[in-house]
Symmetry: C2
Subunit: 252 residues, 2 copies
Amino acid sequence: MIDENVLQPLHTEPAYKLAARTMRERILNGDIKVGEVLPSELALADLLQVNRSTVREAIRLLEENGIVSRKPGGKKLFVSIPKSTDLSGPITGAMILQKVTLNELFRTMHVLEPAIARDAALYASPEQIAALEANLAQTEAQAGDDAMLSELDIAFHNLMSEACNNRAILLSRQPISELFYPAFDAVMKRLNAGERMLAAHRHIVDAIRARDPKTAEDWMRRHIEDFRRGYELANLDIDLPIARLPRSGTED
Amino acid sequence: MIDENVLQPLHTEPAYKLAARTMRERILNGDIKVGEVLPSELALADLLQVNRSTVREAIRLLEENGIVSRKPGGKKLFVSIPKSTDLSGPITGAMILQKVTLNELFRTMHVLEPAIARDAALYASPEQIAALEANLAQTEAQAGDDAMLSELDIAFHNLMSEACNNRAILLSRQPISELFYPAFDAVMKRLNAGERMLAAHRHIVDAIRARDPKTAEDWMRRHIEDFRRGYELANLDIDLPIARLPRSGTED
């Protein structure tokens, strides 16, 4: 009798996954270029020698990952460059199911945001600085409107993460920021911390304009530490798991 | 005539996406619990009042995101907690298509890895320290075997990221590390930098064992800076985009 190790159960990859993986590799290695129109389902089925339904399922996976997309209202599929906001849903979902705590988010942002501020002072373009200044002006004008302040705060930190000109940081930070700022802004609102927030943002933008990485980094660190302090002042437990946020659809 | 803004083209969500989103929300808000067996396709189709093929496509999206999975060899679908390694593929793909540079990866790791070392010194469990020590012993035994050293180096940094006990950092770091270490280890090999690597790892593990966050952080920073120096010594351009790595399948 043959050794039982000679023949073992096959773990075959489903055809749609193999088709998705094959197309993905051709796109990532540049054989199929960004911006190119994908062949029709029928043509792809013929090329890959699989069913048309297999091709459709493979394309849906690629669409989900943002490397294939349609122009708004259009039917044609293009090879596209995924954006950080397209890709955060599965990660925020994983953090919620893993019961990641607010403290873990805080510790991560306490590392990332000051480094981002430092690099923004070094690398921000004049347009990026102008966008930060516009956000600051809006924030000054909105003092008192909490919902608006929270939106402007999230926008401020997103502008900062763009201004550091590091897309690896941008991609890795996105899902964390989507959970961090809404959770902490809810507390800030109760504590009327708008003034402190505005002051910190102002110091950070001033430092970036002055190309002063150290001051930008220090002020951002203080600012992030304020979030934690606000949370503690509100007598909330930072070691509780983050909950599903009541903003349906934003992560899909 | 009515104002043209009153009726605009509908952007309807395809049924399979709506079904996936609906199931995902029920899972994330805890209505469907982790570990539960998902109802059959037929039962789900009946509950959601959609076609069975729509349900199948929705489930494939959930499987892709790791929140639904099968036991090896099994057919039944369970609600599951996605792991960081399940979710890195779309992000590494985005970084490749965005033509992220090695320098961006370096700058990100230069921020993350020292912070991870600091937190590992504070929070690593005895088991996690033992795992780091075992990796170190293996690295000492393998001096000279470059391929093996590279694998052990990647494993070392992955163990570190677990030892910091922050799953938000673990998730956000994973795709970057998958691109960073292979690219830089290729250079280290040429430069015979095994000795320097081993010394750095040894100092880091010693500092973690001694619960000395500052020393762990400082040594990790030096160690990461060595990667950059090695790259420059090899006369390679750190501002070039990362390329698709010749390790097919690892990111899927």
